[in-house]
Subunit: 326 residues, 3 copies
């Protein structure tokens, strides 16, 4: 995968993957090396991919992957160049194989590499407060400020003219130029993604990052989780108020305004010039168009087309909502 | 009470209690000692209890307590072995007497006993970050990690293989084995429990603890308050997403999954295998059964039986909700 | 303005203001000094004010200001003593002029003036935890406690008998006597106020403060933003539970009780003896009367008169809500 931070521990022989999954399969070329795991679309030859739903059959037909974790009923959706590996639970198996390639992306332990900023090369370059800690693999641009007690953990790139306030924890994150992050935010931790298994759930890797584009402002107390297979993105000049939760893989467009205590569930995509009122919630895997306005307190459970104003729970056309609730 | 952390300052003579409450009562055995205060059910002989509502008359009839704070209309619900003490406001009087026995449980001042972890016996045992503080009466099992700036205040027991992230404050809490607590959580502070009194409210003691069972994960920014008269419990292998608020006395079962920004009000009981969507709220003193699914954004104001899927505000059967809101 | 914290950099010549706004206006007395910018009502002679809506025409007629930023259609609402300055966007121009007078109130950079409390005059007076930082222009009364890692930034006045917990950041705030602020709060930062401009929004100054009256309790994780042109106020003996967001200019009365995760949007006014259930949200610029009860999870989008109980989204009379939702 194209993530710059998590090291791919591969390649692994396909026989190692088969053993890992306890599969009773006989394969000709057991010693073939597999370079990476990825989704159907972005896989290359000598990669492994996964197919768990007919929804993806059109993409499946064109995958370049050499192997695919799937189930019996989906075999025929794959091209001849892709050898199916039949498993009981495609997503659990995918989690296991991803963990093999990217073991560092499963658990979010605190960064033991951090040093006091006074003991780093940033001492002269950055305007910083007390007790600031900086991890390995961090770069910081010109004219930046970092407030008290903030921890920039490993794998963070910060552009020019950025302000990072106090008490923040940031990891696995790209911050472009002229971004303000206020206080008490947690940015870049893994998302709430795991397979529920009785007595002991199974976490899957989060290989994505958080990307915060130019001129954004992130309010106090935000939690912005990094993506699992893709990135979490906050578009240019988008402003977030306090206590907002942005789940993994969410992508927010440009020039959007999101008021306090809003929550956006995993993998939803929000357009440009969108306004979201306080405490509104957006379910996962939705597409919210451009120039949409969502009233405060709304609960959005369906896609919303461009240029629409909605309100209510479930959110519907704002005129209808106000008419029905005089 | 069975709380391991808050010291019972008793016994006190019943005459001391009568004086504390400014009661004009004449009692034969003024010098009798009272060992403890507790609810009707768990009281022992030579304890004092309280009865403020007819709802509890069945339990009242069987109480073993020697004395009971109550009102005139409820006298006849008590057994002869239990002497009623008539007061104007049962709950306020109960708060005052509880405060006499457990003065340390009213206010949650920061723990002055904390030391830098480097100056404690945990230096060699725990894998820890910078600026970690540890209070008195703390025990930590094998193979644990504690992140930067985290404060383990007094009265905390942590089991084996636990991960406590950065910027957390934990007190009055039992953490079993293999638990992950991410960043920025406040666990074990007193609940939002007090008697509203004009110009100056009266806080009552919180003698319970927080108990987090094996294999749980607690997301970033959680607030989990300890119980007042009983404990707040998170059951085995239950996972909480970010920015969740769990009020005092709440009990959550096993294998449950609670998404971001959910709030559960005081004393509600949640079953096993429950799924709660993001931003849902559950009112106080409710019983949510096993295998219940609550849609994101729902407002639950009534009990929910086992094996039910609900959504909406107020939450109702999910099919009905979606049918009514096409 | 009457704010005690933000220094007025004026006076400025009216010609400097005209140049700042790129106005092509010819004015007789170019060298006249302008002392301050303020709203129509509180402006004095030789101040500049602004008028952007007919709503304010009654106040406009009586303004004492020497100049007023406004548009052509509103010129006739001003008295002859007040010279109109015609601009394209009144609020944007107001922001620019306010920024000229009060440049320190636009951005909330971390306070570089802070020192370890051990190195300040408060060392002997305050009971404090580890890593406490105190900024310039701070005063603290008698018998106060401040917990670990808390930062009292510049421009804070704390009265007697106050308890400030751990991990808090407080700035530009007046705390009266006997107030408790628990852990992890951010109090006094600027509000979420700016003019949306494509590619780069324009923040306007927040010259107000936060005022927390006697006997209040603020729960964990609160964000209370300071006002823009007026103050944000929490009235006497009002208690806030955890994870509450109070936006700029909000005023809450006395003896009110606000449960967990409530959000109150900008400039709303809440009366005395108000009870707000968990997760309720109140839109901006509303007036909630005295003795109002708002059910948990409600979304309030209209004013509520005194002595009313409401529930629902949008919130309406509670009896009607429960009847319609049996």
């Amino acid at each position: 995968m194209s993530n710059p931070f998590f090291k791919n521990k591969g390649p692994f022989k396909i026989s190692e993957i088969i053993n890992l999954l306890n599969l009773k399969i006989d394969i000709k070329n057991k010693d073939q090396y597999i370079n990476d795991i990825n989704d159907l679309l972005t896989c290359e030859k000598e990669d492994i991919t996964f197919l768990h739903s007919k929804k993806y059959k059109d993409i499946a037909k064109k995958t370049k992957a050499s192997f695919c974790l799937t189930t019996k009923s989906l075999i025929n959706e794959l091209p001849k160049s892709c050898i199916p590996l039949l498993v009981d639970n495609v997503l659990v198996s995918t989690a296991k194989v991803s963990s093999l390639f990217y073991p560092d992306s499963i658990n979010d332990y605190f960064d033991v590499s951090v040093k006091k900023i006074n003991d780093t090369k940033f001492k002269a370059k950055v305007n910083f407060g007390q007790n600031v800690l900086i991890g390995s693999n961090v770069s910081i641009g010109n004219n930046c400020k970092i407030g008290h007690n903030t921890i920039i953990e490993k794998n963070v790139v910060i552009g020019d003219d950025c302000y990072i306030g106090s008490n923040n924890i940031i990891r696995n994150t790209f911050v472009k130029n002229n971004v303000k992050i206020l206080d008490n935010c947690i940015i870049g931790k893994h998302g709430f993604g795991f397979f529920p298994i009785k007595n002991k759930n199974l976490r899957y890797p989060h290989i994505g990052i958080v990307l915060i584009e130019d001129n954004c402002e992130i309010g106090c107390g935000a939690t912005i989780d990094r993506g699992s297979m893709s990135n979490t993105i906050i578009g240019k000049n988008t402003y977030l108020d306090n206590q907002i939760h942005i789940a993994h893989n969410v992508k927010i467009g440009e020039n959007s305004i999101i008021a306090g205590q809003v929550g956006i569930a995993g993998s939803s995509i929000i357009g440009n010039n969108v306004k979201i009122g306080g405490q509104a919630g957006i379910s996962g895997h939705l597409k919210i168009g451009n120039n949409v306005e969502i009233g405060g307190g709304s609960g959005v459970i369906r896609d919303i087309p461009d240029n629409t104003k909605v309100m209510g729970y479930p959110a519907k056309n704002i005129r209808g909502f106000l008419r029905d609730n005089k």
